[in-house]
């Protein structure tokens, strides 16, 4: 049976603005299925985003949504969660928004281990602003601001999140469509900061400058790059060269920030 996505979308918003073949639409469908699985409803869910192609996503979804300043989605989401701890807060954003302009907010949201889910759509470039290189653009690849190749080493967003203190970190790609909703659902259920990195394709500003002839080529690259973390243990270092691990990369239980803060309030008010 065809899945009814339109029940969770604002009427009259489709077709969306994303370019032909952009994986953000696939991630959005995954998010809608995951929210359905977890039983999230309009009144108890806040979708927060910053600026960018990926950050347009909450505009289409019929939930409580908050479209904020560039890179500041995690900071606004922290505010929402602190003021209304009963809300399910989900942040949607891109790699430029989350790790460059909002890098500081991103690592501190991870450090606090506040109970929210951050879905970071890594398309290796700044799409909306004109194809400038981002911290995730692979070394040597071309962007509008690096026409002779990008000299910078790249961020590994998942490792960054683990290092910063996030307690649930998972990675998948836009090709692995069914894994997207499973991981987002797991992240929503996790008590604490959940980072789900989804490797994505940007055919318009990244693909055409880097010799991908079509959207399908970009999708096949994502398929070839991904190695399930469960299978990686049996592979040699040579086989893992140029590959990225997918699946749940890290999970642990730590005290959650809103609960800790409630204890501070109780102490300050002299409640025993």
């Amino acid at each position: 049976m065809a899945y009814d996505y339109e029940k969770s979308l604002r009427p009259g918003k489709l077709p969306h603005i994303w370019c032909p073949g952009c994986g953000h639409g696939i991630v959005m469908k995954g998010l809608l299925r995951a929210m359905d699985t977890c039983g999230l409803e309009k009144n108890n869910t806040a979708l927060v985003s910053g600026i960018g192609c990926a950050s347009r996503l909450p505009g289409y979804v019929d939930m409580c949504t908050l479209h904020t300043a560039h890179g500041r989605a995690a900071a606004f989401a922290t505010g929402v969660k602190m003021a209304r701890p009963e809300m399910n807060v989900i942040v949607m954003g891109g790699d430029g928004d989350g790790t460059a302009i909002g890098g500081n907010h991103f690592i501190h949201a991870c450090r606090r281990n506040i109970d929210m889910t951050y879905v970071i759509m890594n398309n290796f470039i700044y799409g909306m602003t004109g194809g400038q290189f981002s911290p995730c653009t692979p070394t040597g690849d071309k962007a509008s601001t690096t026409p002779y190749g990008n000299p910078d080493p790249t961020f590994d967003i998942s490792k960054l999140a683990i290092g910063a203190g996030a307690t649930f970190v998972a990675r998948t790609t836009a090709f692995h469509a069914t894994q997207i909703d499973k991981l987002i659902a797991e992240g929503i259920k996790h008590k604490g900061m959940a980072i789900i990195e989804v490797l994505d394709d940007c055919p318009t500003t990244y693909g055409r400058r880097n010799k991908f002839r079509s959207v399908v080529d970009m999708m096949k690259r994502l398929k070839d790059m991904a190695v399930p973390v469960t299978a990686a243990g049996k592979m040699t270092a040579e086989q893992l060269e140029g590959k990225i691990l997918t699946g749940v990369l890290y999970k642990e239980d730590k005290p959650e920030y809103c609960e800790q803060y409630a204890k501070v309030i109780a102490r300050a008010q002299g409640v025993k």
Binding site: M1, A2, P20, G21, G23, G25, K29, V215
Partner: protein, 60 residues
């Protein structure tokens, strides 16, 4: 069983055409067309992968 293509939403990226295991779909200019509906095995790959919400596979 029917495959519905919402032509107003389709942007012609051809992801569905490429990843259909039974070659049911093909491009008709910039819009996808259901060329061989009888071959469909209802695997839902096209519906799952369409970034534009443009394909629905009705199984009943």
């Amino acid at each position: 069983m029917s495959i519905e293509v919402i032509e107003r939403y389709c942007k012609g990226c051809s992801i569905c055409v490429e990843f259909c295991p039974k070659n049911v779909l093909e491009m008709d200019g910039f819009i996808v067309k259901v060329a061989r509906p009888d071959d469909c095995i209802k695997c839902m790959q096209c519906e799952l992968r369409c970034p534009d919400f443009a394909i629905k596979v009705h199984t009943d």
